[in-house]
Symmetry: D4
Subunit: 252 residues, 8 copies
């Protein structure tokens, strides 16, 4: 599907080094491995710059281990998110290098050496209850290779707590702002900094928080510029995109 690869294949066919039948077959077989319940996409590292991430929710511990094994065999870092019951234990038993981050509900397996992190991603959250989502974002960005600065419980009802972090926020290439309830934190932050802000609404709140929809909609309606938004409670998605941006900003 990748035009560049397609060109390469065609060149080989034209040079007689590859039969047309074989070429069609390769195009089919290359990208993934079919485990029955799941098609593991080994091609993704080339295509997207990072291996497929395993979403743990709704999978059995055995399925998660099997998929991890298929990916890990190719010598990559593997990330498992939203780990369900028994999954962290099963993964740690199967892979000696597996690290469990309970608050973030993630397991990371592979050679994520702390010293090698690049750039800076700042992760903020409004209240104590938003920490699990903020941790998911932070651990994700770290596992992918970014340096992360955390500042939790800096919600807008006590503005001085946030303003005291401004100096540090201004060092970051990208800021992840996590908030539930009225979801105003990313708007206030985006009005004070130059870096792009990725807003993460959380399902924290009750009544008209509408399980996070209010925070989501408020963030999308921000009167500040430079802000984009991910799904409710999607810390991983924010950490992933923040890393893509931070990595670019950190290349010389």
């Amino acid at each position: 599907m990748n035009p560049t690869d397609l060109r390469g294949l065609l060149d080989q066919v034209g040079q007689g080094n590859l039969s047309p039948d074989e070429a069609v077959k390769r195009l089919r077989d290359l990208p993934f491995e079919n485990l029955g319940h799941t098609r593991v996409d080994h091609h993704r590292t080339l295509r997207n710059g990072f291996p497929e991430v395993i979403y743990g929710e709704g999978k059995t511990a055995d399925q998660v281990v099997e998929i991890t094994r298929s990916l890990y065999g190719k010598n990559q870092t593997v990330i498992v998110t939203r780990t369900g019951e028994g999954q962290p234990e099963a993964l740690r038993e199967a892979f000696s290098g597996a690290v469990h981050h309970p608050e973030a509900r993630m397991v990371v397996i592979g050679n994520s050496k702390p010293g090698a992190k690049v750039g800076c991603v700042a992760v903020l959250c409004g209240g104590t209850s938003d920490i699990p989502v903020a941790e998911e974002a932070a651990v994700a960005a770290e596992a992918l290779g970014s340096r992360v600065e955390r500042a939790f419980d800096v919600g807008i009802a006590g503005l001085p707590r946030l303003l005291a972090e401004l100096d540090s926020l201004r060092q970051a290439n990208v800021i992840i702002a996590v908030a539930g309830m009225e979801g105003a934190l990313p708007s206030v932050v985006a009005g004070l900094v130059e870096a792009p802000v990725i807003a993460v609404p959380t399902s924290v709140g009750y009544g008209t928080s509408m399980s996070g929809l209010t925070a989501l909609f408020a963030m999308l309606n921000s009167c500040a510029d430079g802000l984009s938004v991910v799904n409710i409670d999607n810390g991983f998605g924010a950490g992933y995109q923040a890393h893509l941006i931070n990595r670019m900003a950190s290349k010389k």
Copy 2:
């Protein structure tokens, strides 16, 4: 319906000064005057402390003038809100003292002398487009007898604009904070002051502003305390309640 009055009536009946039949009749006739399309409630000043307000929308200019005349004949200040086409003109023609506030879409008729205002109600709004609703609140509170301080276009995306008003905000007995879009202004304000804050969501915004529902829900979910909320675009309701509070605070 008013127990006090009921007691009075019963006393008169018991003293033989009033026949039971007459008493029943009075209870019925006192409170309002039936214009056919509208029942004008003259009793309300006693019951609620302020005369009925005329909601202009959906009424003809003639109906509004007729209701105003019925109320005004009892020597009260009359307020007409959400004035529709032709209503301000008709009212100014019919009543020499009628003052039209076009931005607030209101007409006020009566003896609202500027010098006599009491206390202080602060009215803030986030952006230029919120001004009509903020003006409705401000004019309402003034017409009812409160002194009003306005600070418009102090939205949270440019926090310094708001912070510069803090000294002045802290003089107010009650603060009305009007905002559309993400609706975060009242939360930020309530986190910085001691006075009660009445939040007014506006229908300003697009997409996920949901015609003001997002601002409304965000305000109701505020992580700050001391805040209550009125209907979307209901500047009058905020001004009315703010006056009730300010009046109490201003009594010695």
Copy 3:
């Protein structure tokens, strides 16, 4: 952030009594204490007139005790709302003065002497199922220093029950009206009294009660004036704002 304080600091700097570096540091350090998971805001009493309230839901008993200790050390009344499992017990063990209000799901710690209450806040509710929310409002206002009058199960389907309370309602500086289902109680009350009414929708009901949204929307759409609204089931928020208003009305 507080301009007055800022002025004070600047004066000291100008007088050579404070170095600029120290001034910046103080601005940062003054307002709060970082417990890791939570930033306790000691400055809030100066800024808002009352200490931060601890929202128990989603916190561990240990976290709640730790935050309470940090606040209580400064000699203030501490309020914990929406207490979760084990929290009341842990708090009562840690603080001898802790009083648990089980129906209101609150714990109050400190010198809230019953005799010292000021003014009058009336708390009404429509039905038996609304009592927990009404109690949360009542206990909050009492803990903050207001005298409270309760009248429960006075819903509009049996109007005489409400009308019998009118005399007593008219003594209050502010009325909190709590109702679920169709949420009409605050509208009926606001049409009969002069005081501001704070409406609290509850999630009581089924089907089209939409978990309290219908009561909320009905209250916001009230055809009566003088009414504002807080979030669904937010008894504390209503009690807090009612106290702010009652305190002002009770000052001589």
Copy 4:
């Protein structure tokens, strides 16, 4: 489809008075007349006790006249609701007995002699803006043969206006209560009377009135018993059902 008729047909077939083919044909032809755009259902009077009603909205004046002619030829009273532009004029030109009720947006054609009305249907509405819907209900019930008592602008914000009507309300066999905004009128009424109440929400209001959904939901959630509800602004539907009930109550 009507078992009784089916039985009659089968009897005739069994007696040799009707051929099976003819029987099938009659079953098909009896019930309606196909005008191309509309199938006029002449059978309905037998089946439902009243002729089909013509919903004017979205039809041309010519179509409405054509359908009316088809129905009227069978000597029935014809009702046209939600009349659109030009329809009332066209109907009055085509049928000398056509009476136009502009506020109700209806045209009634036929022998609806005022003297012959039976029983009593009470029609209430909360505010001036609800009158068109209330009139639709009232005119419908009258056209179908019920006596109607109207009491408009008796909303709950001014309770005495409603209570003054109680004597008269208690004469009615069925009460139609029309209200927009918070939609509390039917609940208050149902708590005070013995007759069944048909509640009609209107789209009057703004913001959280949600185009009438809030009033609808509030009515469905009424804490009073004896109440059922029709669609938003569906005055006709309320008038129709009220007549069915009133007619039964009025039969000796």
Copy 5:
């Protein structure tokens, strides 16, 4: 609140048989008895024609018994709906005549002799899962004094099942049609009969059934006339109103 009673009281006062003070007191004391958590409304039988119904959900078994005792002492039939855990047992222990209807989740206490039922209320439901709601309606109407005919599992996907009941349906004074999912049963029924139809949406279904909202909205939008609707799963409300109508139709 009852003008007739008011008149009676006033007459007595006017005749000197009652002091004004006593009159005010009576007006207050007559209607209800305050149990603390609940105000029992003894006056309701006079006002509404039937005693207050006890909604079991959210009450303790003890509260329910206490309220029942207060009502039952006045020699009335008492109905408890939505009985929660332990309530049926507690009621049957406390009142020898208590009858438990488990499918309907109701307990009826008093002299509801089967032979004395009047008129006819037909209760239909679309599917097996709708039976609990249909039973609630049927038991309610029976407890109040109506004769009830049941026809369950007659949904529109198998139209012949419904049509076979037509003869019997046409004997009823009022029809209760209960349906979940697409909620079309009441519309089809209302198109085939002359009697008023009370539609009850149920929360049966999944996905776009939206917990019953779809059935509710479909019923309110019925293209058939003569139909009104109660809240989702509100079998009792339908049975209550059906009885009011059937009773009127059955009076000679």
Copy 6:
């Protein structure tokens, strides 16, 4: 109700072979058998081409066995969907030929011989979590008599996985595309094939997946043609309709 049958009955009546009374009775008795809680519709095979399907959810194991017995006695294949606790076991005990498909939550009883399947229905799904719904569709189509090809975990985030299945997809007479989250799979598929596509949204996802509404709405809004949609998680409905189409396409 079936005109053809009706005609046949009438012919017999006309020929004197059947009395009218008997004809009416047959019409009533033929279609279904009343088990009290359920009316089993034996006529359906004639009318719809396939026997009634038993929806297990909300029924007891005994009820399901009883209904199955009533249907199975007529020598048909019986399908039970959404089997609840204990139902599969009870059915397998009662019917030796019962086959349980746990992932699809279905039990199939009868002579569904694998060799006899006709045509081809392709069943795709986006992710591992969508498999239960996809299996429900696949097992349903197979039980009804269609040959089924499955391709699971071919979501659009890894397009090559889907494109590798194109050859095989193009053999199918009809394609069922199952997807949760953003629900884009059916749109992408419909843009690449000639066969009709039946889209099945699933409730897989979180936050703005809105329990499957987002996938549903996205599928209905597809910019590709040739696509129709069934309810959220309704695998059976898709399998049923796909079989109807495939059977027609497979007839010579």
Copy 7:
């Protein structure tokens, strides 16, 4: 992208008949022609079995003519749906064979000879106001090559009108059932026939019709099997899929 074509191209490259560069270019250039605002997809006939359809809404008359010209030059039938102002006139001026269907808001250009239609698609609608959507479905199916039978105004409130069409409905290979308001028509139809039913909700109705959402949800929740649904008012989509099914059923 089409594996078959890809194979052909690769064969040619392997045989030296095509250079790799040229092959890549062809893959890119074949499928579409870039008009700047629109990419016309000529490849679609091969891929999907029918040319791209032009959606008129939001395009200028000139754009529509230009796209039509690009498609028509390849000798195909061209369909323009939802024609906006001036488009029908412009198309008829530019293409002599253009036929305008005003009720369906469509223009069809090409050789759609009436005699050549295959099979049978039945198109039903509930009421007069649903006709435009039903016509869009009917004209679409006809333009694509299907024979169409129409039966309009057969809504379920007058069931005999629908039942009289049963014989004719049973001739159809596929049935399109169009309905607004409560949207029950497709459910009733699907319960009576063997053919697959495509349901089309319309935005006809008011209040709780929710602009067609209620009909849509009701159709998706049908208690009848064999039914799938398209977007609100999407007559074209229904006609298109119906044709795909009818064509397969009509092939020998």
Copy 8:
């Protein structure tokens, strides 16, 4: 508010170069200029890296010119978005360098020389109707200083059109993907590229497009990683954030 500036000010005060009073004044006066209706924020370039953008909607042409003049006097590029009636003309009359982009509804004033653009932002859209929003994004990014590549009408229903752009997409530092209806384009793109993707839902569609909410929710639920989302139709917001990212990636 800016700690850096605050530090600078404090240094000056400490050095006796600035009086405390003057320092407070500067902090207040620096940031903005009060035009009455609007507070122009000159400080923003320092704080956010780009001047305030003027949102034209709901402002008069005169207000827009006045605000532009205030900003432009400081020698900056000024951007006006969502220009309303008369605004483009007024701006071009007032500022000779004003360039009007009618499709994007924007006016750009200042020295945006085409040659100086950096990096690469790719802007895609699904269909012809999405072009205005895509243009808003493209013009915004260009005006801020980014090089932009456009590829319009590459929706997923004709996948080859999109795949043909892959080579070019892979050159971009960030991709803006604009789509209405089912909103699947960004998900498909994010699965094929390495760069971060900013998704922009549009309000294009009908029925279940829910004015763009469906596309928005689908994008937030993407099964692909590396994607964030802005408000419905918010092309400017996407262009702004894309520029922030592209600028960082382009710095050496």
